[in-house]
Symmetry: C3
Subunit: 157 residues, 3 copies
Amino acid sequence: MEDLLIRLELSALQDRYVAALDNDRIEEWPAMFTEDCLYEIVSKENEDQGLPAPVIHCDNARMLRDRVLALRNANIYEKPQYRHCLSGMEWTQQAAGSFSMRTSYVVVNTSRDGTSSIYQAGCYLDHVVRTPPGLRFRSKRCIYDTLRVQTVLAFPI
Amino acid sequence: MEDLLIRLELSALQDRYVAALDNDRIEEWPAMFTEDCLYEIVSKENEDQGLPAPVIHCDNARMLRDRVLALRNANIYEKPQYRHCLSGMEWTQQAAGSFSMRTSYVVVNTSRDGTSSIYQAGCYLDHVVRTPPGLRFRSKRCIYDTLRVQTVLAFPI
Amino acid sequence: MEDLLIRLELSALQDRYVAALDNDRIEEWPAMFTEDCLYEIVSKENEDQGLPAPVIHCDNARMLRDRVLALRNANIYEKPQYRHCLSGMEWTQQAAGSFSMRTSYVVVNTSRDGTSSIYQAGCYLDHVVRTPPGLRFRSKRCIYDTLRVQTVLAFPI
């Protein structure tokens, strides 16, 4: 039963993560990571060939906070309206309070003209740790299947 | 742990809700609401501007039952074949046995010619109460992102 | 509370199932079934008319293992890159350790040219049993809504 409750806790974290991105609350995004975190977006093609070359690479939480400021202040991006669908969550315990987790995602975006379409499919490879204030991502790597990725990729997935 | 179990209970209610709509059992739909319920479908654009102007507005369960009868008897609508994808569920307790809940949805529809496509993306804003027979929606507001909404909107989301 | 934990267990099994298919680990697929299992893919149209005529019909686990070998060795199929979205899970207990379960699915596929699109929507009708090594599918029937099903249907859903 303990395993089932850990599963539920991890899945609540993942839900909170996508809810912040999907409901225009990106300020909450950096706080879900540890300070010494890794956040990456990489194509599956590169990942499979061992050539990471990430589209986004942030290796601490300050970089995430900077990105939020940039996204809020710069008007160069059309703000997306994402809805993340999640499935196939799997996890293993690595050490006490340390978990690796994999979750498939499909992101649907509604563009300014009101058309909803699949923006990106892929999977999250996460490393989650238990900290005094709760579960946090030590690393989150977004491996996307979709090749034609629009320029709004600067927005977190 | 209590919080995790409430989460699971709320998410079971939401699953039951979409299962009734997706599997041609709309007769079960009104019974998931309290008698003095609110059910609305509103565009995100209007919601954000504080101009509700809902596409559907029902303020008691009788109106929901009437709608089910109309949908079953009238043949003016092409019956949709929806599949709701849900994610990003968040909840807070408002009072004893009273919860507010937010969940993103993406509805895929398969039309009569057998083509499956995204019909609508958006989020549910729900108020759920514990009643003697179980959890019920006191209000469910469907805020949709997608602008081009087809005329079958008379069918509940 | 026992019911909520069974729900969580069943949903973990379903997640494991789609994770194996979505992450190129089809070797794990047959082991999630009992030896005397049934696996079928049937169109909703046929199912509703009582004319099963399944696209795939396997009535024991050896047939599933053979299919995995065929898929790995034959190069006639373009290997799909699926992401299954699941929702609306409902279950009932049939006998001690025996459960029927229904879950909606939407499968998004990314083709070789990197385009992600809805491949198939439908629902799983499952019969799950508790065995010494854990929960297993005694039968899984995939009832699909989408009519235009591509030739890669030989790959499990």
